[in-house]
Structures are given as C-alpha cells and as structure tokens.
Symmetry: C2
Subunit: 386 residues, 2 copies
C-alpha cells in the first residue's frame, strides 16, 4: 500500500485512524448528496477543490452529523491540530466521522486520540480497516494494479459500511490509495465516473446516509509521468483498475448488507439510456417486495414487472422481458408458454442471484447490486432499543 | 347505500362482485401511474372520459396484469356480456381485477361467474367488501353524509388493499357510491383533489401496484340539482364529505398494512410548498430505517434527519426541527439540550404514532400516513413460497 495508517482505539466509542500522505499527494472525492450531511462532508467537499492531501483522519463511533456549529468546530480543531503537526495547509487534512448522529464530537477526546495516533507505530491495513468499521461484520479491502507509463502502480482501498445497528446511521466510508502520479482534476474525473458505475449502483435499503464519502489519494511515489488526461500513457489501464477496486468495494458493502443472505445483481438492458437503465435497476433493487421474494427463493417476476412500472422511466409493458439466472420467465409482456421453473428455482437457492430485465426499447444498459430483505434486517433495526 | 351489490364466490380464486348502477350515474376515477398497468386500468381510464356508468364488476384472485392481448380480451368479453344484459353502451361497464399477476383471466370462468352474479340475490355491503378482498385481514368501508341543495346525500365506500401474500400483488381497489347528482367532470375534479390529499398520502412499502383504482359513482337518486362547480349549492359540503370517506378508507388500508403494528402519521410543516411537504413526508414514511425504529419504539430522530435529507426537496439542516407525539427532540439543527425522552418513550409505546417535522422554510404543509416495518412484513412476503 502506498501509505501507512496509525490507529488509536483508546477512547471508547470514538476509534481513530490516521494516515499520513506524501507531500504532493493528489486527492479526489465523492460525497453523499443528503442535504443534511455532516460538517465533515461539507468541509471535505470544499477542500477537495484544491486537489492536494497530506492526511486522512477517520473517527468511528460518532458521525458528528446534525450537531450544528459545535460539530463543525470539532472538525476544524482536528484539521488545525494535524496540519500544525505536519506543517501543511489546514485544507489538506481530510476528516471523516461515522456512527451515532446528533452528538457533537467531543473535542478533548478527539485531541487526545489524535495525539496518541500521531505517536503510534504504524499498524497494518487489516487493523486500520477494523478501526474505521462500526457494526461491519468483516473488514473490507480491495487491490488492483495497472501499468502506467512503463511502471506498475498499485491501488489499495479500504471501506466500511452497511452493517448498522440502531441508533447508528448507515454510512459508507471508502478510501483508495495509489502510488500512481495523477493530476487532481483528472483523478476526480476518473473517480466520479467509476463512482457512477459502482457505488451509485448499489443499495441495501434505499436510505442515503448523511456521511457517505469516498476519497482517492494518489501519492505519485511510482514515479510515472503524471496522468493528466486519457491521452496520458496508461490512463485507460489506470481508469480500469480504479473502477475495479471501486466495484470490489461496492460489492463487499452489499455482501455485508444488514441481514443479507443473498447477493443480487440486477441487469437492465434495452433502456432508452444507461442512466434510465440504472434508475429502473434501482427501482427493482429497492423494492421491498422484490427483495423479500428473493429472500423466499420465489421467482416472483410479477413483482419485478411492478417495480419496472413504478420506476418513472420509459418502459412498455408489452415489450418487457424478465429472467432469473439466465432463464427467461416472461418475454415481451407475457409469461412464456413453455417456461420451465426448475432451473430458476435451482438458481434462487444459491447465494449469488441474477435478475435480467430487457425493456426492448433501446441500447441503454446498467447493472445494479443489492441484497435480499430478511428477518435479520428487522432484527438489527427494530429489535434493538437505543 | 345508493346501489346494491351481488356476489358470486363459486369459481375458486376468482370471486366476483357485481354492482348495477342507476341509468345516468356519473362516474369519476383515479388509477395507478404504474406504466405496467393492467388492461382493466387502461380501459377504465379510457372509459371514465365519457362520464357515465351502469355497472361495476370486480374480480378478486387474479389481477389479469401482464397478460397481453389475452388479458385484454377477457376484460372486453366481460364488458360485452354485462352491457348486453343491461342494454347499455359497453364503455359504461367498469371492470377491476386484483390478485395473482401474469395469469390471463379465464374467460369461461368469468362468463359463468357473471351469469351467476346477475341472477344472485343482492347481498349486503359487508359481504361485497369481503368478496373484493384478497388477503385483507378485515373488511373496510366508510360512510359520510352532506346536505346538498336542501337534501341529505349519502356517500358509501368500500375498499380492499395492503394485505398481500406472495405471489399476489399489492393492490388497492376502492369504490365510492353516492346518491348525490353530480356532473362527471366536477365529480372527477373533486375525486382527484381528494385523492391527492388522501390515497396519494399513504404508503405501506413504497411499491406501487399495477392495478390501483378508485372509482366514484353518483347515481343522482337524491334529486338535488346536479353539482357542476363550487358555485353549486352544497358543493363545499359534498367535497368535504367525499374527502372524509377517502381519508377514512386510506387510513383503513394503512391500518391493515402488511405486518403493521402501529399507525404512523407524519406531519411536515414549514416546507416551500404543500407538494414539497408531501414528498418529504413520503421520504420519511418510506424509509425502512424510520419504520423499523418505530417498530422498535425507538425515538431515533437521526433517521428522520437522514430521510429529510435524501428526499430531494429543499431543506436546511440548520433550520430542521423534529418531534414525536408533540414533543420536540431536536430544534433548528441540533438536539434539544433539555430534551426529556420520557413523554416520547410513552408515546411510542402506543399504537397511534405521530412524527412532526418543521423544515423552517415556508408555509407548505402535509400529513402522510404509514405503518411500521416488522417481522410480520418479512413473514408475509418472504417466508411464503409461490
């Protein structure tokens, strides 16, 4: 990995991870669109604009969201403390927080936690991934390599999310580190594009967190000529590797979705555009009736029809085809006369489920990923009292 | 009630209800916006335009949705059969179907069912309400009266919906019968307005059925001067009575929501418009995290903040206030320093829950209604295998 993390787990519910980044590290980020976002998200979005990062700080246990000016002061205090230590501009310190909402981050504890982390020995990435997690049931990381300008660059990434327990908020925090050299603007363009096809194509329960953040850091240690556009040597390979780690991480979040027993890929083809296909896919992936049908191993394609129809996107009932695991159940608006449910039933007993929808209208195509909706989800979110 | 129903329950999963309406009865309707709607919905929407109705036929057990031309032929055969019997134009026969999707309505069985219903003795409305139901757990009806042009008119209504069991689709079918005289165009305007504040403000699980239909029939037997606009004598009283029965019926559907243990009213004020308030309310009412929190009797206002933020409507985190049962938990973007959770905890133990949200931006206001999300919902929709 192109950076070394340090962790401090000594202050109760607020575990802290600190990663120092080489001078000149390029940064790009994508953030939640939830308008009730945390101060961390507001400041992160603002600071990504200058393009450089020297440090990442992640608090786990307190999301610091909906905490007003006190929450914002706590984040700014962390930025001041870390930038003084590193001798860098304040806006090059990126802070994320995840956990309980509505409790201002305690400034004194955060200060002590950072002092401890700055002095700590570097830890391994497994430990760092565990430290940024809250109720995640396993540590999630991804790796990819690409040849850029004659040099092999590495992309390493860690992510937390989708394991949540009342009263904590669902949050997804992901960080990608690479030794490639890249201009911040181009890194941002690549991250935004990859995000659109990966993180923006997953859903566990349709609820958008107030803290979702994905940051990419490119230290430049590999020594390649900086990637500035798709004309740069190796840009395509790097973009593919970046999307690869984003997709790996997105899938891990879904596999650890609350109460998930099955991983579901919904592929929509024949839409009027890729974006329309993605929206239809998300309508299916967010339908409680579709998700419970999969939990019950029920090839209930009527519920898929319903979800397509409510998506608000162009669709024609009489051109619609629906299949499971590669077997069509309905074609062009009608159940197949010779539909054989046996292979579909066998497919639905597995853990990796695919749903195929062909709208029969155009060339638009997208795949989205979700998990089934089970008693486990209700137990995690309702049976627990704060 | 201004009409008498007949029922035929002799053909297995397709129970049939038939209501003959007096000549000249005005009709108005609102229908699902699901683009994969059934032929019944397509034909109903088309036939409402001519404004008059002589009969209503409801099949329960087979929604006839996603059945292509064969499904449409089955509906047209029913319309021909009933119109021949009554000697009326075909388009004055309104047909609804609810139940399993993707199986064409069997034409021979439907014909025999209608013959039986035409010959049957009138039944009472309790029996008719039970006959249109599928997996509803109780029969749902509503009544209201209004003085119009010196005469007391009655509005009676029946509805089914929200109890569903795989592989059946959720469907809501509602019928309002009144002896008032009203021009179809004005009746439609009143029904559309009432629908926007009642049926369009309820949600059980965010999944929009392919068959949802609400029809209003005005026979004119009361002998009032026909209502043609809000300038007609009694129009305001009639409009209020119509909205009253629509609201009663909408609430009954939510109270019978799948697995529901609590009835939840979400009131949003301070929005930029009433429509914006309704959308924010529905984002809260559709959030699985909010609904499971209420199921767990957990005053988790952080989840309400999240849902407001993801609604896609204007909101300002730092002006947002949230309460339960009339007690504020957070005001203007921050938890209340002196927040007393005791009255909130007591409120959440009840069956009728209210959530109050003040966006602090404008005068827009709306109330939406939903139910909690419980293990019962999962059991009904996942544990059963088709």
């Amino acid at each position: 990995m192109p950076a070394s993390p340090r962790a401090s787990r000594d202050w109760g519910r607020c575990d802290l991870t600190f990663v120092e980044l080489a001078e000149g590290t390029a940064v790009a980020g994508v953030f939640t669109r939830n308008v009730c976002c945390s101060s961390e998200v507001e400041l992160g979005r603002q600071n990504v604009a200058q393009g450089r990062a020297r440090a990442l700080v992640v608090n786990a246990g307190n999301s610091n969201a909906f905490t007003g000016y006190r929450g914002r002061e706590a984040v700014e205090a962390i930025m001041v403390q870390v930038s003084a230590h590193l001798g860098c501009p304040q806006e090059q310190v990126f802070v994320s927080s995840t956990g309980v909402i509505g409790v201002p981050l305690p400034k004194d504890k955060a200060k002590a936690g950072i002092e401890a982390a700055l002095l700590a020995e570097p830890c391994d990435w497994q430990a760092a991934t565990e430290t940024i997690g809250t109720t995640d049931t396993f540590a999630k990381g991804a790796m990819a390599k690409a040849v850029v300008d004659g040099r092999t660059v590495t992309l390493g990434a860690i992510i937390k999310g989708s394991g949540m327990i009342a009263p904590d908020m669902a949050t997804m925090l992901g960080y990608i580190f690479t030794d490639a050299a890249a201009e911040p603007g181009f890194l941002q363009a690549l991250l935004s594009a990859a995000n659109q096809r990966t993180f923006s194509c997953i859903t566990v329960d349709s609820d958008t967190s107030t803290s979702d953040t994905v940051l990419a850091f490119a230290t430049g240690a590999a020594g390649n000529a900086p990637l500035t556009s798709f004309d740069s040597a190796g840009a395509d390979a790097f973009a593919a590797a970046l999307e690869d780690v984003c997709r790996q991480m997105a899938h891990l979040v879904v596999r650890d979705g609350e109460g998930a027993q099955k991983f579901i890929a919904v592929t929509v083809s024949g839409a009027v555009s890729d974006e329309s296909a993605r929206k239809v896919g998300l309508a299916i992936a967010n339908s409680p009736l579709v998700k419970t049908a999969i939990a019950g191993e029920d090839a209930n394609w009527g519920r898929v029809v319903m979800a397509v129809g409510k998506a608000g996107e162009p669709a024609d009932r009489d051109r619609l085809s629906i299949g499971f695991g590669g077997t069509w159940a309905a074609r062009e608006g009608q159940p197949l006369a010779d539909y054989d449910e046996a292979p579909v039933a066998a497919h639905l007993k597995g853990q990796d489920i695919s749903i195929e929808v062909d709208l029969g209208l155009g060339e638009g195509r997208a795949t989205v990923w979700t998990c089934d909706l089970t008693h486990g989800y209700i137990s995690i979110n309702a049976d627990y009292r704060s």
